[in-house]
């Protein structure tokens, strides 16, 4: 009895924490993590052109490209962007809740290059503007040709090293042409700022301000970029070592979903889930009486626990995932049904209610285990296959939600329903055998 009470307390604590986890932010997340189809947003699959790449360096190059994509996506204010490598040469980008113009979309896929800028004079056309002023590309003449100073002239060996100030520096070396350019430009800009830009925005330092060091002396060999955070310096270094190579990205597929469409789906799914739940409960109570009512109680617990897990893992909920969850409600009662049918058999063979409950649970266990393990196998394969294909999110989402659902249903049926049943035996409810099985009384 004491053990049952203890279990009941654990169950109640779990239930309350699940409900709390659903109502309040967990790990900085207010609601569920929603997939693109529910939240709306952008889905792009890029293919990187690795034809001109030295064999063996593909991984580094793809990571650099992904880093640049991340840098470009960050300012867009997307809360949970997905940038994922798929296969050898593909990169999947998902930007939930975002709608951007085609130009912005194009900009995402530009080759990674750092550009150096000098302050633009009054009336001159500026390429960049930020809190430090208006900027134009820093240029110099080499062999009669005007060239812009960019990271294309970096040697492919940038690295991160500790700086004297205690932070980190990004160390780079110019190649032959870069030296000539740098010598002219830094010579001209002594005492002025040299801005560093990537695409349309300035490279940001750890303090959140644009990095634009004042030129102290003429730079010929190479230099250090100071003020970056360690992770930023690291990823920049990676990007540069890759970005110097002309890896162009082409769009294999892209898709935009409207946010309102998604909101609609969520409401419909909630409605379907609630109606399904109520119908299943009704059926269980009418058919199995007291155990059915207890199983219905368990089902509420099941729903709260599964949703809380979805939020905490977090599982990205897609429409298919919601379908998987709702399907799992139907299957969650399966373990209960197995047990109750077993109990009825035991009652028919003349056992007491208490003994029938224990025998029912023990005997049903093998079937529950084997049946659910086969479902697990299928779910795992769905998750694996879903991760290998573009637009595989629905497949993966379905597999994951069903996996969590079936797993939790085993736990709730074995532990929660059983505890409820045992307690009901102790409270004397179980003395009325008709509450357990109407057929037995008829005999």
């Amino acid at each position: 009895m004491r053990r049952n009470t203890l279990t009941l307390i654990i169950i109640l604590v779990l239930f309350i924490s699940s409900v709390l986890a659903l109502l309040f932010p967990v790990l900085g997340r207010q609601g569920m993590r929603l997939g693109l189809d529910l939240q709306g947003g952008l889905h792009i699959l890029y293919e990187a052109d690795l034809s001109s790449v030295e064999p063996g360096t593909e991984d580094e190059i793809i990571e650099g490209v992904m880093g640049v994509l991340g840098n470009r996506i960050n300012p867009l204010g997307v809360t949970e962007p997905v940038i994922q490598r798929q296969g050898e040469d593909r990169i999947l980008v998902e930007l939930p809740g975002l709608s951007i113009t085609d130009r912005e979309k194009e900009r995402l896929a530009r080759v990674a290059v750092l550009e150096f800028g000098e302050t633009a004079a009054q009336g001159e056309e500026a390429k960049w503007e930020n809190e430090l002023g208006r900027w134009k590309p820093a240029t110099a003449e080499v062999n009669g040709e005007v060239k812009e100073l960019t990271s294309r002239y970096f040697r492919q060996n940038t690295y991160v090293s500790p700086s004297q100030a205690g932070g980190v520096d990004l160390v780079f070396e110019w190649d032959a042409e870069g030296r000539v350019l740098s010598e002219q430009i830094t010579g001209r800009l002594l005492g002025q700022r040299l801005g560093i830009f990537e695409g349309d925005t300035a490279v940001m330092g750890e303090d959140g301000r644009p990095i634009a060091p004042v030129v102290q002396n003429v730079i010929t060999e190479g230099g250090r970029i100071t003020g970056l955070s360690f992770t930023e310096a690291n990823s920049l270094s990676q990007q540069l070592n890759a970005g110097r190579l002309p890896v162009s990205l082409s769009v294999l597929s892209d898709e935009t979903v409207s946010p309102t469409l998604g909101a609609n789906f969520i409401n419909q799914s909630i409605l379907a889930g609630v109606i399904g739940l109520v119908l299943v409960m009704l059926f269980m109570i009418l058919y199995y009486r007291l155990p059915g009512a207890l199983a219905s109680l368990t089902l509420v617990f099941y729903g709260a626990l599964v949703l809380a897990l979805f939020k905490m893992i977090p599982v990205t909920l897609t429409l298919a995932g919601l379908g998987g969850f709702i399907l799992s409600i139907g299957m969650a009662v399966d373990a209960n049904v197995l047990i109750f049918e077993r109990m009825k058999e035991e009652l028919r063979s003349g056992r007491t209610v208490g003994a029938a409950i224990e025998a029912g649970f023990n005997r049903a266990w093998n079937a529950i285990r084997d049946a659910n393990i086969t479902t697990f196998i299928v779910c795992l394969i769905l998750i694996w296959i879903g991760s290998t294909i573009d637009a595989g999110a629905p497949v993966q989402g379905f597999g994951l939600t069903l996996l969590v659902g079936v797993g939790v249903s085993m736990f709730t049926a074995i532990l929660v329903t059983r505890t409820f049943m045992r307690l009901s035996v102790h409270t004397g409810l179980a003395n009325r055998i008709s509450l357990f099985s109407p057929e037995v009384r008829k005999k």
């Binding site: 699959l45 709608s99 085609d102 294999l252 597929s253 898709e255 935009t256 979903v257 409207s258 946010p259 309102t260 469409l261 419909q268 799914s269 379907a272 889930g273 109606i275 399904g276 739940l277 119908l279 299943v280 059926f283 269980m284 058919y287 429409l319 298919a320 919601l322 379908g323 998987g324 709702i326 399907l327 409600i329 139907g330 299957m331 399966d334 049904v337 197995l338 049918e341 005997r363 093998n366 079937a367 084997d370 049946a371 659910n372 086969t374 479902t375 196998i377 299928v378 394969i381 769905l382 296959i385 290998t388 294909i389 573009d390 637009a391 595989g392 629905p394 497949v395 379905f398 597999g399």
Partner: protein
Amino acid sequence: MLNLTGKRFWFIIISGILMLVSLVSLISLGLKRGVEFSSGSMLTVNFEEELTQQEVEQALGELGYSDSIVQQTQPTGNYIIRTHVLDENEQTQLKISLQERLGNFAGEFSFRRVSPMIATETSRSASIAVAVAALGILLYVTWAFRRMPKPFHYGTCAIVALVHDALIALGVFSIFGAILGWEINLMFITGILAVIGYSVNNTVVIFDRIRENLILGISPDFETVVNRSVVDTMARSLNTSLTTLVVVLALLLFVGASIQNFVIVLIIGIIAGTFSSVFFAPMLLLVWDRNEWKNFWRWLSFRRVTS
């Protein structure tokens, strides 16, 4: 007690016919591939005039793009139109014709082609998934029944039941594809994979009871054991299918069109799966165990002669 095993040849022949019909329809009619599943072009437009979705769909139909899917998106007045793959000229042609009918486009529009490569990969991955799932299940079931005299039989029968369910779901879809134009998409594939999981789940519960009754030694006769096990678990099989069908129907009624394929496949699969796990897989196990195939053919020809 209900004597189900006595009618085992009947059950096997029913399942056999269903599978054969499905296979024939699958081969002769094929499956209608949706834009999402195969490949296609996507046009995003914004019209100056306010239009309803029906108006856009109607205009596309009249232009000969009746296979296109129109989706309204944010901001209001934006439409995504998915069509079959269009080359550059066809794209321009479509844009011009649309503007002639529905007024000028406002603002930017985009045209994207979805690569056919991805469609091919999706189909291939799904086939691999089914094959790997079947193999995994065969191995697990064989292992779980390793103490039985012929564990491999259990695994194989579970797989045959699985193929039965998936094939019938595919067959029904190919028939309705020909009659009502049902298309298959990624959700359809997800549905098929879900059916596979559900089917095996059901079959294993019954096999499990056979194992238990064999160990208990309720009868030396395998036929009696199988019959008793199927009857014992009948209430459970029907109740679980019923509760699952109830929630799936709720999904169909309230979520509707976008996951219709998924839900319909599930409904077909649940019904086929219930039949195969109760009436097909255990009977197959029994017939195989006794090596009754000769009797089965004799029974078949006998039926032909008398009818």
